[in-house]
Amino acid sequence: METIGFLLDGIFTSLQWFNLALLIFGCLIGLFVGAMPGLGSVNGVAILIPITFIIPPTAAIIFLAAVYYGAMYGGAISSVMLGIPGASTAVATVFDGRPLAVKGEAMTALTAAAVGSFVGGTVSVILFTLFAPPLAEVALRFNAPETFALMVMAFATFVGLGGDDVPKTIFSILIGLALSTIGLDLITGKPRLIFFNIPGFLHGINFLVLAIGIYGIGEMLWTLEETKGKVQMSKLSVNMKEVGRAFGALKKTIMAMNIGSFLGFFVGILPAAGATPASLMSYGITKQLSKNSKEFGSGVPAGVVAPECANNSASTGSMLPMLTLGIPGSPTTAILLGGMILWGLTPGPLLFTQEPEFVWGLIGSLYIANFFTLVLNIALIPAFLMVLRIPFAILAPVIFVLCVTGGYAPTQSLHDVWLMLLFGFAGYILRKLDYPVAPAVLSIVLGPLAEKALRQSLILSDGSMGIFFDMSEKPIAAVIMYIAIVLLIMPAFGPLYRRLFKKKQPA
C-alpha cells in the first residue's frame, strides 16, 4: 500500500509542468536519436548529460530516462524504413521489420513496433515498481564487502555472458579500471599516473570523457565507415486504414508480447546484458516457440513485436539494479549512474529513503513517458521520415560539435577534449578488432566506487581478502563472489561442453 502512495507522488512529480516539458522534450530527442542510424540511447544520453548540470537532479533523470525510453521506440523506425538498425538495440527488429516494409506494409511494422514497445515498457515498469522497494530494503543491509562483491559480479557477467573474446573483454574491463585510478589517491592523497606531469590528469579522468569519446566520436566514425554517408529508404503510405489493419494484426502477437516483456525485464537486470541481447534473445525464443516459426524472417508482425517489446522492457529492467544496488544494468545506465554521482547523489539503496522524490519521480515518469512516446511515435512518423532524409554528412558535424562542447563543458578544460578525441579514435580502432567497449565505460564509472568498497572491506578485515569468501561472517558477499567466479571460468568450459555434447547428438 505504501508503494502506491509513493508511486502516486512520483507520478505527480513527473506531471509538474517543468518536469513534464522535459519529459516530452526527452521523448522527442530519444525518438530522434533512436531513429538516426548509428545513434542509440547510449549515445544520446552520453552526449546530453553535460547539459543536465544546471537543472535539478529529478528533472535531469526524468529527461535522460525519457531519452533512453524514446530511443528504444525510435530505433525501430530506421530498422524498418532503412533496413539498418537505428541502434544496436533494434538489430533484431530488422529481421522481420524490413521484409514487411519491402512488402509495402511498413505501417504495420511501425505500428507493431510502437505497440510492442508500449506493452514491454508498461509491463516492465509495473514489475519495476513491485520489485524495487523490497530489493532496496535488502540492499540497505549491504556493506562494503557486499558492494565490492556485486561489482566483481558485474564485471564477471561481461566475461561469462558477454560472448566476446575473453582476453579482449578482460582487457577492456581492466583499462577502464586503470583509467579510473588516475588522479589523486583517495586514501593516501598521493597523485597517481600523472602522465608527463600534465596537471590536467590531477583531477582524474571524468567518465564522460571516455563515454562521449567512445559513444560520440567513435560511434560517428564507425557509422561514417558503414554508411559512407548514404542510405536507401523504403516507401511508406500513411492512412488510418493501414493503422487499423496494423492493430488487427497485433492479435496474433500476444505470445511475443509476453515473452518480450518478461524476458526483457529479467535480462535487463543482469549487469552486462541490457537491451541488445534481450531483444535478440526474445526474437529467438519467440521464433522457436511459434507455431509458424518458418515464416519468421519473411515479415511477420510477431517478429517485430518480440524484440521491440524486449528492448523497452530491458531498458526499464536495467534501471532496477542501478537504483537499488548502485550497479548499472546496461551501458546507458552506467552513464546515468555516473551522472547521478555528478549531480551529487549517492547511487544505491539509500536513495529510496534519502531522495524519495528523485527515485519515485523517475519511476512515475516511466509510466508517463511510455504513454507520451507511444502517442508521439505514431503521430510523428511522417516527421521522423523527414529526419531520416537528412544526409549523414550534415548530421555528423553537428554531433561532433555536440561532442566537443559536451566534452569541454563539465570541467572546462581543453585537456579533456583532447582525451575525448583520443578515446574516440582508439575506441573506434579497438571496436573494429572486436574489443568490446561497453565494459570499459562500465568500469570507469564503477572504478572509484569499487576501489573505495575494496579498501574499506580490507580495513574491516585487517587486510585479509578472506572477508569476501567467508560463508559464516558475510554469507551474501561470499555467495555473490562464488557466482562471479563461476561466471569468470564459464567461458573456459564452453569448448569442453561443446566437445562433450556434440558427439552425442550429431547435428
Binding site: D185, A393, T405, F425, Y428, D434
Partner: protein, 204 residues
C-alpha cells in the same frame, strides 16, 4: 589505394596487440612511482591497484598475441583490408579536421573555429550549395553560443576572439528589458533556425 590494401585485419590485430602491450608496460612503470606493495601492517600503497591492473592488461594482450600466433582468433586468419579505400578517406579527413578544430579552439576560440570546421566539412562531404553551407556554418555557432553562454551560463573557450564578445555580454547582462532580449533572441535564433530548416527543404 595500395596502403589500405596492405593494412589487413591480420596485421592490424597484431600491431594493436603489441601497442597495447607496450602501453600496459608503460603504465606499470608509471604506477611503480608510488609504493606498489600491500600487507596487513601498512595499508595498500597508492601504486598497488594501477600496477596490478596494468599487469592484468599486459597478460590479456599477451594472451591475444598467443591466440594470434596459434591462429585461434578470427582476426588472425583475416586477410581482408582493415578499412576500404573510400571509408579510409572519410575517416582520415574527419579525424584530421577534428584535430585541427581542437587546435584552433585553443587559439581562435570555439565559435570562429566552428564556422571554419562546418564550412570545410560540409563542403568536402555533402553536395549542398554554398548558400546552404554559409547559413548553416554561421547559425550553428550562434545557437551554440546562446545555448551554452546564455541558457547554461557555461563559458566556452574564446581564445583571441574574446574581446569581440564583450559587447554581447554587456547586452546579455546589461539592464535591457525582457522584451528587448526576446526580440533579440527571435532575430538571432528563431529566424536563422527557420532559415536553416527552409534551406534544407528547398536549397540543394
Amino acid at each position: 589505394m595500395s596502403i589500405t590494401n596492405k593494412i589487413t585485419v591480420k596485421r592490424a590485430e597484431i600491431a594493436v596487440a603489441v601497442i597495447l602491450a607496450l602501453c600496459s608496460i608503460a603504465l606499470m612503470i608509471k604506477s611503480a612511482e608510488n609504493r606498489i606493495t600491500w600487507n596487513a601492517e601498512e595499508n595498500m600503497g597508492a601504486g598497488f591497484l594501477p600496477f596490478y591492473l596494468s599487469l592484468g592488461m599486459l597478460i590479456c594482450t599477451i594472451l591475444t598475441i598467443i591466440k594470434f600466433v596459434l591462429k585461434r582468433s578470427p582476426q588472425s586468419k583475416d586477410d581482408t583490408p582493415f578499412i576500404d579505400a573510400v571509408a579510409f578517406k572519410f575517416i582520415a579527413v574527419t579525424i584530421i579536421s577534428l584535430v585541427v578544430l581542437v587546435l584552433a579552439i585553443g587559439y581562435l576560440g570555439i565559435y570562429f573555429s566552428l564556422i571554419f570546421f562546418l564550412a570545410f566539412y560540409l563542403r568536402y562531404f555533402s553536395e549542398k550549395s554554398v548558400a546552404f553551407i554559409t547559413i548553416f556554418a554561421i547559425t550553428t555557432p550562434i545557437l551554440t553560443f546562446l545555448f551554452f553562454e546564455w541558457m547554461l551560463k557555461i563559458p566556452l573557450p574564446q581564445g583571441i576572439s574574446e574581446p569581440l564578445f564583450y559587447p554581447v555580454y554587456d547586452f546579455m547582462y546589461g539592464g535591457f528589458s525582457f522584451a528587448v532580449k526576446m526580440i533579440f533572441i527571435i532575430l538571432t535564433v528563431v529566424l536563422p533556425t527557420a532559415l536553416v530548416f527552409l534551406t534544407t527543404r528547398f536549397i540543394k
